[in-house]
Assembly symmetry: none
Homo-oligomer: 232 residues x 4
């Protein structure tokens, strides 16, 4: 019973607006749901149907957008990693203050932009599954570890160049900054979720790490140790 075409249909809603709009959002919704569950339960323990349900679609739809569970996993990692460092690098190009402040800012803003968001789950995910997804590990290495290393190294180099920091082995020096952050990301999504576990306040944790680090790196006592975590 097709509607007679010559009659106007003023109440006809925007044809298939809802579905259209959702359709575009589907992949993103699925990726978000998948990230959530992969981080929480691991790759293998997460069922495709759960991801679909959390995204509000049916199981079949998931495979309409991602060829396989593996591909979904890869997409989750890729999606949550791409291009975080260009803007970040630019930011540091313009940075004016002391290198100690720069490092403090770097660690704190890592927490704000990565650590405290779902993106930190990616670190846990990649660490856990790296050996089952070598190409992803390489991708992560290339897109996150190396750029991160470079960014940190540039800060350290700046400190040395300006006479603020002692000369240290650059290759391993960067890990003094990176290790505490990646440990925090792992912790947050593993033992940190267990009821009995020692609770870590991330900002205080980062503050202590940063100040100890700066004390160790600096030529003389770090110029302006912030008054306290509250001042961050």
């Amino acid at each position: 019973m097709p509607p007679s075409p010559d009659l106007p249909c003023p109440t006809d809603p925007a044809p298939h607006a809802r579905r259209e709009r959702r359709k575009d959002a589907r992949p993103r919704e699925l990726l978000e749901a998948a990230l959530e569950l992969f981080v929480q339960k691991g790759f293998a323990a997460t069922k495709a149907e759960e991801v679909a349900k959390l995204a509000g679609v049916s199981k079949g739809t998931l495979f309409l957008y991602f060829a396989s569970k593996d591909e979904l996993f890869k997409a989750v990692v890729r999606e949550n990693i791409i291009g975080r460092f260009t803007e970040w690098n630019a930011e540091f190009e313009r940075f004016q203050g002391s290198t100690a402040d720069m490092l403090r800012y770097c660690m704190r803003s890592w927490w704000e932009r990565i650590g405290s968001t779902k993106a930190s789950g990616i670190t846990k995910l990649v660490m856990s599954e790296a050996r089952n997804f070598p190409e992803l590990a390489a991708f992560f290495e290339h897109e996150v570890v190396l750029p991160g290393n470079e960014l940190i190294q540039r800060i350290l180099q700046r400190g040395v160049d300006r006479g603020e920091f002692q000369l240290i082995d650059m290759k391993y020096g960067v890990y003094t900054v990176m290790a505490p952050l990646m440990f925090l990301a792992m912790w947050k999504h593993s033992l940190g979720t267990c009821v009995g576990a020692a609770k870590i306040d991330p900002e205080e944790y980062i503050a202590v790490q940063a100040e100890t680090l700066l004390a160790g790196l600096s030529v003389r006592p770090p110029p302006s140790p912030p008054a306290g975590p509250a001042a961050l």
Copy 2:
């Protein structure tokens, strides 16, 4: 070929040797195989039959010793954790030198006893699976994290008490020691296994972490910075 009866047979093997001896060894062999594979591929991706084969037995035999794959996993974690700290604690009770040396020794011997052995795989394992095995996570927390924390805290406190270290927040201070070590354990068993990954030389890594840390913790420049990694 009957043995000549008048010759003593000092190497006479235990009567029903082979099978008996194997039986005693089985659990250990299975646990080792399981640790190997769990660390490498994760819990879910490791098939019970693979573990059995690596241990040189059949699938059925595995379940003769462990009631289920879950129980095997728990046993792996327990087996590799139990009682690692008692002797270590005693060692530090007797330590005579500077607290800086004590901390250096602590980190280096962690690498020798844990980090470089399969036991470090446990850290990766627990971090990856903690949310699926909450009781194990609690066990790990109780048997590894807390004792480790205490051991580190005791060292730091000694430094403070003897006027060698600055006063720092103890609760978060311990993580300045622990985080780099746990990061190394994770790295070694995840991204560190990938071909393209930046190779980390663990001893150099630890040396740099230790010296930077000591520089930051110490009241004045750390008394005797070792000449170099080779001197460790």
Copy 3:
């Protein structure tokens, strides 16, 4: 071959007929297959895949509808038992003739409605598996044995009340009716299926049981002993 558009199509099948319709039918098909095999081979000796194959579906589909083989078993028993007695009771409320006829009718219609159908297999099944499925045994007791007892008892009581039957112990009297029927159900599905076994003609068997019973119960020779089995 497009349908000619100007012809009405009154028998137009339901839009997405096949699959939808199957879905509704699946549980019943599976239950029937399961009943068949459980009765024939017993619960344990029946493989889930066999049931599925007999129902024309794959193994996985079976578990789509029944959470486990145990649940399938329970559903089989429940499905074939539920509400068999309500209509039957009503029928006897309205019965007009002699109580002897009533008892004859009761036993014959048991054969027609239960004994000769697959439902009689349930009796065999429950008897065989009762000790492994206590809750099912209780269910059977509650849904079959007790209502059956009551129905029979009501008939016997009617006979006594109307002066047709002698006074007997009601509690054990009901078994004079029930035992022969349940024995027949067991026999039919066990020894009765064996080639060499003495063949029992159920209707003759029931007739002899009924008449002997009535002769024993009646105050005087049962009024109208039917001429023979053919007259039933």
Copy 4:
């Protein structure tokens, strides 16, 4: 280190008396254990190891005496059936009293010798597994059902011959005696074991069945209905 053969060894216990004695008893002990468990849990649900343990031997020993679980099952049935009827038949040859008393005695002594003993479990067992062990079913038919039928038939025939019983169809008449007994055997080992089930007192059950039956069979009211169950 073999003992020197020329020395007397006075304390040497009767060489291997214990074991020898047990060895002869083994098969019987195993069969008893198997009967117990097969009746209780069914054939499939009974594990060979359980039988062995209940018999106080190891799993391997069971297979030393019985080639397979199937053979064990067959042996259990055979062992518990063989030659019960010869002595019984002889007993009835000598019976002097009324045929009514004879039938009463028959049913009561069935209970004493079979029904109340483990042997009644055989009936349940065979009924449950007949279709999976056709040869056993045939054996049971041949060794139990037919001889039992004949014995009952001989009693009934005696009653008819002596003018005590009415003429009835012999082929189906025997089931009026057999059905209640076999039902009781089944019940005892299935629903009768469930907590909530209506408890059947076997002796009262048999008394009511016997008297009703006799009332129905007899030419005139059965001569001496016993005063009550206690008088049996």
